[in-house]
């Protein structure tokens, strides 16, 4: 009976660390995804602005 209690305690310990690790990795991946998409968007809009400015100068 005592062993069962300890085993379930270990399971909770593993669950707690798994949640934090999985959560941290997922969050890091989400940040990387957001940085990549905003860089792509920024490059596209910069190009658009440059084109527009060239047209104005012409």
């Amino acid at each position: 009976m005592k062993e069962d209690i300890h085993m379930s305690g270990d399971a909770y310990l593993i669950a707690a660390y798994a949640v934090v690790w999985a959560g941290l990795f997922a969050y890091l991946a989400y940040i990387v995804f957001r940085i990549r998409s905003v860089r792509t968007e920024l490059a596209a809009v910069e190009e658009l602005v440059r084109e527009q400015n060239e047209k104005k100068e012409m």
């Binding site: 305690g9 270990d10 934090v20 959560g23 957001r34 920024l42 602005v49």
Partner: protein, 248 residues
């Protein structure tokens, strides 16, 4: 003419960021990332191999080494949100608003981890996932304040009025942080009291204290690393929005 100047300025800013973009991660970010990774490895060793097993709670007590740093940083992050808000209102410098937004997002993540790990730890020691204890309840209130802040900022967009409204919410909301800290002293709670208090001896054995300190330093490094990433993200998003507006 003013419009043209403004547009040129925006394009110039875009060009600057574009140039910086090619340099990829700034050196501070890289150093923080590497230190966080090394710290995480050392923390795992300290938590699972170096720190002794608690005589009463057994192994589940080791949840404490992640729970406490995430909780403290989650609370400190709201202090940064409020500070960012105050300085923004005072100086009207949008960089402080970016700091506040970044800290709010990160604080939400950290306080969520603290609530989840605390709930799991509570299940093993108290036999329940949740109880309306003063410390737990005030921390949950902070989580709701964070969510309210993020929803407000998301709804109002990247405007000066959004930054002001966010700053006001943060200044009012930060009152909850000292209440969380003192809740275990002010009320009779199930949650244990502070194990390390200023001006008194720590209530932990030295090995446990060292493992906790290593974990705390590691999470602080990780927090700083993520703050740098989120700050640059906020900066780029604001610039992208401005450039888009100048084209439309």
């Amino acid at each position: 003419m003013a419009l043209a100047n403004r547009e040129t300025n925006v394009v110039q800013q875009g060009a600057n960021i574009g140039t910086r973009r090619t340099g990829d991660l700034p050196i501070a970010s890289l150093v923080l990332g590497i230190l966080s990774f090394i710290g995480m490895m050392v923390s795992i060793w300290a938590i699972f191999l170096y720190a002794p097993t608690d005589a009463i709670e057994g192994d589940p007590q080791r949840i404490f080494y992640f729970h406490l740093p995430t909780a403290i940083l989650g609370m400190l992050a709201f202090g940064i949100v409020a500070l960012g808000g105050i300085v923004y209102i005072w100086k009207k410098d949008e960089r402080w608003d970016w700091v506040a937004r970044a800290a709010a997002e990160l604080g939400t993540v950290f306080i969520t981890f603290a609530l989840i790990t605390g709930s799991i730890w509570g299940r093993t020691t108290w036999g329940t996932w949740w109880t309306w204890d003063a410390r737990l309840t005030t921390t949950l209130i902070l989580w709701f304040i964070y969510v309210a802040y993020l929803m407000l900022r998301s709804y109002m967009g990247r405007t000066p009025s959004s930054a002001r409204a966010g700053a006001v919410l943060a200044i009012i909301g930060v009152i909850d942080v000292p209440i969380i800290y003192e809740s275990v002293n002010w009320w009779r709670t199930l949650h244990p009291q502070q194990v390390i208090t200023i001006g008194s001896e720590p209530q932990l054995p030295p090995q446990m204290l060292l493992a906790l300190m290593i974990s705390f330093v590691t999470f602080t490094l990780l927090f700083s690393f993520l703050m740098v990433q989120l700050y640059s993200l906020e900066k780029m998003q604001t610039l992208a929005q401005r450039l888009r507006a100048s084209v439309e």
